[in-house]
Assembly symmetry: C2
Homo-oligomer: 225 residues x 2
Amino acid sequence: MTRILEVRKNILKKNDMLAGDLRDKFQSAGVCVVDLVSSPGAGKTELLEKTLEKLSDKGYEVAALVGDLETENDANRLARSGVPVRQIETHGICHLEAEMVDNHLRDWDLSKLDFLFIENVGNLVCPSSYDLGEDFRVVFLAVTEGEDKPLKYPTIYNSSDVAIITKIDLAEAVEFDRQTAVESIHSVRPGIPILEVSAKKEIGMDEWISFLESKVNKKATVAEV
Amino acid sequence: MTRILEVRKNILKKNDMLAGDLRDKFQSAGVCVVDLVSSPGAGKTELLEKTLEKLSDKGYEVAALVGDLETENDANRLARSGVPVRQIETHGICHLEAEMVDNHLRDWDLSKLDFLFIENVGNLVCPSSYDLGEDFRVVFLAVTEGEDKPLKYPTIYNSSDVAIITKIDLAEAVEFDRQTAVESIHSVRPGIPILEVSAKKEIGMDEWISFLESKVNKKATVAEV
């Protein structure tokens, strides 16, 4: 058991170092990097598709890396938005690592981008331990999942900077208890901003896009100082 | 990398050996053991709650072990059915292992049970590699998750013996495409039986209970030969 823990510690240490280098690279390129995490089917790809379109329409340069165990479905779907998208197939690995991100964007000119989105593998456990050098991490809770998921998977919520309640158009159909969900999220991650969105029905998208814009504006201000 | 793979291989080998012992133990006790796997929030606990009640009502002796990273919520919820239920808190580990199962049922008299259900941690990746000595594994696909999940998480479907499409009462609300979902499941696991269930609205429960009964009857027949 000691040996396993030691190996795991070394993997995470190596990942943290590489993620640190990536963060430096992203910062000097001036690109805002957003890591999207959730359970499978919480609506990451649908929200990302709309986000890429809306940011493009507003004149931002955006790109996306999407992680899955197998298939290029998500990359093909997102490519419809016309922005650069690349699939990372992990072939059985349950999370993205900094090295995979680094390998997949080597030939991209990051300085031309305003936003880079990284859609992690659908998994509420393992991605929480792997820093990808992102500016912030967004965790999704679909109303269909149950209000107690933050209590059961505290680490992924703890390590996130924003929570989005997705599929809010289905709230009534599944008897979603908003107050309990918000309390669950805030009990494991006090004060985290919570947005409510339905990408399908275009609910809450303006708030989400404004939130993203505030992040690049803030970065720009800091850079000017 | 070689060292990591080697350590992982050793962990799995140790788990397989222990799972083999567990399987022998389950078989000589004459208990049918069912492992439930799915992404978080696919409806495992709700279906299990109803299953325990219905099997109890029919005179079967049933019990359940439920895995979660944190909280005893599920065990408390399932205990309402009046059958023996025990929580396995994995504290950050993303799957159940044979050793955890073994440790949590040591003081139970398995020979008194007809069914033991094991609700795995909500995760479509990691549990697939860990044999728990079960008779069969059931994978859940909620209609809210998207029809392509079997293609993205093939290993968990490959290693399962039955697939249950859950939350079927929401099929229309989420524009669920049944044919695509069935094709996805069968393309990664040809011939796997597929049931359609809503535990909440009591749809398809009789078929599921009959399926379970056929498993103990079959076992009984084999034992008599």
